[in-house]
Amino acid sequence: MIEVKDLVKKYGDTTAVDHLSFAVEPGRITGFLGPNGAGKSTTMRLILGLDRPTSGNALIDGKPYRDLRDPLRYVGALLEARAVHGGRSAFNHLLYLAQTQGVPKKRVSEVLDLVGLSAVAGKRTKGFSLGMGQRLGIAAALLGDPEILILDEPVNGLDPEGVLWIRQLLKALASDGRTIFVSSHLMNEMAVTADHLIVIGRGKLQADMPVGQFIAQFSDTAVLVRTPHADSFRAAVGERGWSVANTNDAGALIVTGSTAPQIGELAAERGLVLHELTPQKASLEEAYMELTRESGEFAHRSAPVLGGSDGRA
């Protein structure tokens, strides 16, 4: 369990983290979202005791990080910034970390195996690709078999198998009752990974809720319908006061203002055959963009150019 209470961090005149409070609960994957410069990395660094808060505090199981004994056995962390000495081998990097925590040497080989770096364990990390560096960081995070994992952009530089692997790993760890806190810019990745979301913008909390609720709250619901009786269907739907729109896909209609069961029952009553009846889930990305638009807290950069689509699927 991670608790952030009224946390503030100022760098000179800039307030990077602004009276932020939230809790990251065990047993689920909590996604940490926000645009560049929103304060995500700073918040993570404050939780990990790397930076000192200007005021407020961040607690791990009720204690500041700096008061933890053998902290890597409580908390495994992967930071976005590089945190290895390029002249040292992957094995020795992990060995040093293990020794500080009284973790046996055998465990080092084990985590190297787990992330698939055994073959290059003795190589200096200077020559590692982004993906290999990321695997080493993940190995370091898992070294102490921690109850809490804090990962900043974990899939950065990973290949498709790596992306899938880390997602499976996090899900397995969360279902095991561990606390998983993951930041990412990849909404589509978060949508299939996170159970709960914490969204910040300009250092302030914007949302703290389950993913499903987040999507529902910040998007419209719609139902996609295909029917051979399009005209009668339109008329029937119109009578109910629901709205119908065409789509790019000929024959498919989008109904808003109603639910799939209501539409299905209406069609059956009128004897209209349905060829498809699919509730449309808005994507996490759409919901996120809607939130950032509504809150007006986020610095908007150039809108899509070249007269292209508007980004809504």
Partner: protein, 279 residues
Amino acid sequence: MAARDSVLTPTTMQAAGTGHAHFGRLLLAEWTKIRSVRSTYWSLIALIIAFLFFSWLFPYLTVSNWKQATPTQQANLIEDPIGSIMSSGLFVGQLAVAILGVMVTASEYSTGMIRSTLLASPHRVRMLAAKSIVFALLILVIGEVIAFAGFFIGRQTFKSLLTVNLSSGDVRQVFGVGLYLGMLGLFSLVLGSLIRHVAGAITGIVALLLVISNLIQLIPGRVGKYLYTYEPTNAGFAIIGKRLPDNFLISSWEGYGVFAAWTALLWALAAYLLVRRDA
């Protein structure tokens, strides 16, 4: 629990027990860190080669040019042969120790390694203490070994000219090499921790050793003598001298004490800043 057993295989973890982070672990870990980068080996090899080579070269040149030497030079040498052997080796060798000392701390910042280090040891002062002890002891031990090796090389080279004896009063001069290098290593390490930038810290320590320590002599009067005497590396270097320069105001051991006091002061400052500053 299946995931737990498989993903993180805690069998090995249980074997470790749940002991607290005791200081011995930090010492072991810092030792691993120091021995696992090549810059350590290169610096130490440079130290050993430079020290031993100059321990031979100076006596050799002295012996072969004895006739050309002035009576004062000859008198100085006869009075303090050990000091001249040791100081010629040290003059170059100390640079390797200074640079390595700076690298031990400053390179953690330039590579980003400091984040891993502090995540593992959030009690930052203990981490700095462990690092200081391991590095200073390493340099002390190597320093003593090369000091005695250099002494015997120098003595052999001088043999045709004069007999160099290691009387009880002169042992300090030989042991002083390791003491000086160990303290210099620690001083540099602390400087690296304060400056947090490899190039900047190396420039600082090299300037202090080669430029400032000498230029300071040019300041006239009592003030100049004080500054010269209490400049940390000059003060420390006195440990290997027999007859100290006229403008050096205190004894050899007092000088070493001044160097130690400087180092302790900066260490305390580094520890304070390490805790205060964001990593």
